[in-house]
């Protein structure tokens, strides 16, 4: 079965990534990709990896009727255009934060409110590792934030297995690449200013705390640093459990949660160069690498989680969720393998 698909915001980074995934997906037929600034130009004009695709950007004002619409637009656009999106497609997958959080109060607390709160309840959070069942048959899907995704995947086994129940101290220190800022970055995103940084761009008060709180029930202390890579989000979660845990327990918990998951790899310790999760090992793939280390002195678990923010952290997660929603084998179109060696993808 093939589903026709539209990408709104296809000129941007996650929109371009959606196009990359959809043109390689046997069950989707990309029929429309919108851009206001590059209307009528080929997709290859914006995305050199799509030069062979015979499709031109069209205006988001004229949405074709399709089976599935993916929206990859800045915060606020989906909120205001959701009716048009739902009119145009049976299934809508939104990559923005507009429908991620399950209650209006989150938008009041962390954003500037919400203009369409009545739809919040109908949107299903896209992370399959958390929500696979609800995704089946869903008509409205909201993909998670990349930093939140990295964090949730790292901590989920601890929550599921009762190591964390919400009262413990958890510090999450995230390092992200420059593609997280989207294609329209300003002065701080210019190459001379952004190269070589370890820049604490959100040392406190990051909005993704809301997602983690909503979906894991944890109030984590969250900080995000920009580092010199383009793709990738890496979360280091410093966890202080109430009861001492052993490495064997942790392995059991993590394997229990993830052994059957097609897109999560456990990576922890051992030899060689790549001993722990690293964003460059998963760049270009829909995989998450998850690992941990135990610090007996401080009775701390250090959980490490690495994803590609363009993939598992947005477009890949969106397609994964759409696969599940539409009853397609969930791995379809998402089996790209990573590279080695590879620099700073």
């Amino acid at each position: 079965m093939t589903y026709t698909a539209t990408v709104v915001g296809a000129n941007g980074f996650t929109g371009g990534e959606l196009c990359r995934l959809l043109v390689g997906h046997p069950n989707f037929d990309l029929v429309q990709a919108t851009s206001r600034s590059n209307e009528n130009r080929t997709l290859g004009h914006a995305h050199p990896n799509l030069r062979d695709i015979d499709l031109r950007f069209s205006s988001p004002d004229d949405l074709k009727s399709v089976d599935t619409l993916f929206a990859a637009t800045p915060h606020g656009v989906s909120m205001s255009d959701i009716d048009r999106f739902q009119d145009a497609a049976d299934t809508v997958v939104d990559l923005s934060a507009d429908f991620r959080l399950p209650a209006e109060s989150f938008y009041d607390d962390y954003y500037d409110g919400h203009s369409c709160p009545e739809l919040l309840e109908s949107a299903v959070y896209a992370l399959p590792e958390l929500n696979r069942e609800k995704l089946s048959g869903a008509a409205f899907i909201a993909a998670g934030g990349c930093n939140a995704t990295a964090t949730i995947l790292g901590l989920l086994p601890l929550v599921e297995n009762g190591v964390l129940d919400g009262d413990e101290q958890v510090v999450v220190d995230v390092k992200v690449g420059s593609s997280e800022g989207g294609a329209s970055g300003g002065e701080a995103a210019s190459h001379p200013e952004r190269s070589g940084v370890v820049r604490p761009y959100a040392p406190a008060g990051h909005r993704h705390e809301a997602e983690i709180s909503a979906f894991l029930g944890l109030d984590v202390a969250f900080s995000v640093h920009a580092v010199d890579m383009v793709r990738g989000a890496s979360a280091t979660c410093h966890v202080f459990p109430e009861e001492p845990v052993s490495k064997a327990d942790l392995w059991q918990d993590y394997r229990g949660t993830y052994d059957e998951e097609p897109f999560v790899d456990l990576v922890a310790g051992g030899g060689g160069v790549y001993r722990y999760p690293e964003p460059k090992s998963v760049a270009g793939t829909n995989r998450a690498e998850i690992g941990f280390e135990l610090d007996p002195e401080s009775e701390r678990i250090v959980v490490l989680s690495a994803i590609d923010n363009m993939m598992k952290g947005s477009a890949g997660q969106a397609v994964h969720a759409a696969n599940i929603a539409l009853g397609i084998d969930e791995k379809t179109g998402l089996t790209q393998r990573g590279l080695h060696p590879v620099g700073a993808p």
């Binding site: 490495k247 392995w251 060689g272 001993r275």
Partner: protein, 54 residues
């Protein structure tokens, strides 16, 4: 197949495995020494941990 001592995952073996050989666990990467074959018994070989530089 035997269980990894470190993480519990299955460790894939190979034909003609011999005692004293070192292999790694494909899941957690730990270095394992083959103590006995038939049945295969493994132990961690921590002294092999290479230093990573600091």
């Amino acid at each position: 197949m035997v269980d990894c001592i470190e993480c519990g995952a299955d460790v894939s073996l190979y034909d003609d495995i011999e005692a004293g050989e070192i292999l790694d666990c494909g899941t957690c990467g730990v270095e394992l020494e083959v103590l006995n074959v038939d049945p295969t018994e493994l132990d961690t070989a921590p002294e092999l941990q290479q230093d990573w530089g600091e």
